[in-house]
Symmetry: C2
C-alpha cells in the first residue's frame, strides 16, 4: 500500500462500539464504563468475561452459575483429542489453538440451539484443555484429564499445566492478567473477527481468524518476543549495554509504545506491580530488575513507555508459564472480547468490504503462451 | 455500528493494490492489467494462478513446471487424513477446508524454506484432496487416492469427486469458473487475510481466516443460496410467481447486485454463456431457463443485475457438483488471489488497526458483587 494510504487504518474510525473505551475517559481504558484499574483490583476474570459478553456485571448467583457452566465445559470430545494428537510436538501452540478451535466448530457447530454466547463459553472453558492436553500428550506421553476442581479459568490453566494445585498468589496474578488482556477495542485480531462476522459466517470462523491474527509478532506475539529479550540479560548492566547496542542497530524492541496510547498504557503499571510482587515473593528479582532497566533505557533513549506486553513477560515467567504459552493465554483472555464484538457486529451488521486504489499495470492485451518469452 | 459509521467501509479506499482493477478500466475487471474477458476466453486457470502469485504470465516452460509442481502437491500427510476422518459427515464442507488448512499449517509450517508461494501452491493443489478425501471417507467409507493424472486443478477436482475421468466440456467450464473466481480486490475474505497478514502472522493463519470469511452467506455462500432458490422452481412460470411472492415478502435474493459494480458484473455474461452451453450439451435446459426468468424479474422489478454467483449456480449444477461444494470451489479459485494479497501486504506492511467511536456507558464506579441485584 502507498505512503498516502499505507496507514493500516491508523487513527481511522471505522464504526462505533459500546464495549471498551480506549483513551477517551478516566485512566485511559474502561470496559463498558468500568475503569480498568478498579476492575483489576476488585473483580475476578469470570466477572469480566460475563460483563463483556452479557453487557453487565453478574449478580452473585449469576456468577456462580456462570463459573459452574465454564467448569462443565472443560471436557474435550474424543475426536478433538485425536485431532490434537496428530499435531506434532514442535507445532506452535497458537497453531494448536487455531486448529482446535476450527475442529471444535466441526464437532459442535453453531445452530439455533448453540449460539454465539454458548460457543464463547465453550471456547473460554476449553482452550486451556486443548493446549495442555496436546502439551502433556507430547511432552510426557500422557493423556491428561482436562476437568479440574479449580473454579477459575486462571486456576484451571495452572492446574492443568503443572498437574498440581496452584498457589493463591500465582492464581490471582494470572487472573489479573486475564482481566487486563480481555478486551481492547478494534485491535487487529478483534477487527479480523468482525470482518469475518460481517459476512454472517459462524462464531468459530471469526474466532479462528482472530487467533490467527493474534499469533503475529506485531500483535499477541509481542509478549513472547519481550521475554526472549529480557531473558538474554544476566544483569542490569548487561541490559543497559545490550539495549544501547540493539537501539544503535535499529532493532525493533517489542513491548514498547502503542498504536493508540500516546501517553502510556494504563495496564502497564498494574501488571508491573504484579511482576514486582511475584519477584519479591519468589525471591527471584533479576528478571524484574532487568525489565525495569530496559524500561528506563527505552524512556531515556526513545521516549517510549512499556505496554501491557512488557511486564506481562516477567509476570508470566514468575508464574512458571513457558514462553510459548504467553500468546495462548492472551487467546484465553481475549476470546471474551472477541465474542462481545461478534455479538455487536451481528446486532447491526453490514458486510465489511473496503476498496483499494488500483496501482497495477494499465490495460494490456493477453499474449498467447507460445509468444511469451 | 452507527448509521453514520455503519458503512462496512463501503466506498472507503483503505490502501493501494496492483493486483486487480475493479470498475476502473476496460470491461470492469482486470487481473494485473489483463481484461477478464480475454483471460476467460484464452487462458487456463493455472496461468492465472501464476499471474496472480508471481505477477506475470508464465512462459510455456514455466507453466509446465508449475502444473507439475501442483500435481506433486496433491498428496495428504497421514496425520491430516486422520484429522479429516474425525470431522463428522454432517460437517459443513467449508469447515472441513478451514480445519484442513489450519492443520496443514501445523504439519508443514511456514519457514525460510517453506515460503508463502510454496504454501500457496501446496494449498491450491491439496484443497480438493482434503475436501474429497473427507467426502468419500464418509459417503462411501472409502479412503481415496488423492493423486491423479489430470494436469489441471479443475480436472483434479472433478476426477476426485466423480472417481472417473471428466469430459472436456465440464473440465473447461470448471476451469473458466476458477478463473472468474480467482481474484476480486479487497472483498471481505481477502481483506480478512490482509488484516491477519498485517500482524506478520503466517500464511496459513491468513488463509484460514479468509476461508472463514468466505463461508458467510453475504460472501462466498451466495452461490449456494442462489442454487437453493433456483432449484425450488419446476418451470419458468413457477419462477415468475415465486419471485414476485419472495419480493413482496421482502426476502433477500442472493446472487444479484454488488457492493462495487453498479452497472453490472462483467463476469456474469461469461458464466451465463457457459451455463447455457452446458444446458444445451446435456439437454437439460430447465435450470438455465428458470435462471433467465429470475434474472428478468429481478431486472424488471428491482433494477438489479446478476453477479458472478448467480449463473455459477446452474453451471456448477450442470457439472455435477453438489451444492455444498460450490463455496469450497470458490476457496480453490480465490486462494490464488489471497496469496497475491498476502505477498503484497508483506511487501509494505503496516499493522491494520483502526479505531471505533465509543458509544458505551459513561464512566461508572465498580459495584462490589454483594451489592448487585
Amino acid at each position: 500500500m502507498s505512503e498516502r494510504n499505507n496507514s493500516g487504518l491508523a487513527g481511522v474510525v471505522v464504526g462505533q462500539s459500546a464495549i471498551a473505551s480506549v483513551e477517551s475517559s478516566g485512566n485511559g481504558l474502561s470496559y463498558r464504563g468500568y475503569d480498568i484499574l478498579e476492575l483489576a483490583e476488585q473483580a475476578n476474570f469470570e466477572e469480566i468475561a460475563y460483563l463483556l459478553i452479557h453487557g453487565r456485571l453478574p449478580t452473585e448467583v449469576e456468577l456462580r452459575d456462570y463459573q459452574s457452566d465454564l467448569m462443565r465445559h472443560r471436557n474435550l470430545p474424543e475426536a478433538l483429542k485425536t485431532v490434537l494428537e496428530q499435531l506434532p510436538p514442535e507445532t506452535q501452540p497458537m497453531d494448536v489453538l487455531r486448529t482446535g478451535c476450527s475442529a471444535l466448530g466441526c464437532l459442535e457447530p453453531e445452530s439455533d440451539q448453540r449460539t454465539v454466547t454458548s460457543i464463547a463459553d465453550r471456547l473460554l472453558a476449553s482452550f486451556a484443555s486443548m493446549l495442555l492436553y496436546w502439551h502433556h500428550f507430547h511432552v510426557n506421553g500422557q493423556r491428561i484429564e482436562t476437568m479440574s476442581d479449580e473454579t477459575s479459568v486462571a486456576g484451571h490453566f495452572l492446574s492443568l499445566l503443572k498437574q498440581e494445585t496452584p498457589d493463591e498468589l500465582t492464581r490471582r496474578a494470572m487472573d489479573v492478567s486475564l482481566i487486563l488482556y480481555a478486551e481492547h477495542e478494534l485491535n487487529a485480531s478483534t477487527f479480523a473477527a468482525r470482518v469475518v462476522a460481517s459476512t454472517l459466517s459462524d462464531t468459530y470462523s471469526a474466532m479462528t481468524a482472530a487467533i490467527g491474527a493474534l499469533r503475529g509478532p506485531l500483535h499477541g506475539g509481542a509478549n513472547e518476543a519481550a521475554m526472549d529479550m529480557i531473558a538474554r540479560y544476566a544483569t542490569v548492566e548487561d541490559a543497559e549495554r545490550g539495549m544501547h547496542e540493539a537501539l544503535s542497530n535499529k532493532q525493533l524492541i517489542m513491548g514498547f509504545g502503542h498504536r493508540v496510547y500516546k501517553q502510556g498504557d494504563p495496564r502497564s503499571p498494574i501488571i508491573k506491580a504484579w511482576s514486582n510482587k511475584l519477584a519479591v515473593a519468589t525471591n527471584k528479582t533479576r528478571l524484574f530488575e532487568v525489565s525495569e532497566r530496559i524500561e528506563q533505557v527505552m524512556m531515556r533513549e526513545k521516549g517510549l513507555f512499556p505496554n501491557l506486553d512488557f511486564y506481562s513477560a516477567s509476570t508470566y515467567h514468575s508464574c512458571g508459564i513457558p514462553t510459548a504459552f504467553f500468546t495462548p493465554l492472551f487467546v484465553i483472555a481475549r476470546c471474551t472480547g472477541w465474542a462481545a464484538h461478534i455479538i455487536e457486529q451481528r446486532e447491526n451488521n453490514k458486510l465489511i468490504r473496503p476498496l483499494a486504489e488500483y496501482t497495477g499495470p494499465t490495460p494490456r492485451s493477453y499474449i498467447p503462451i507460445e509468444r511469451r518469452h
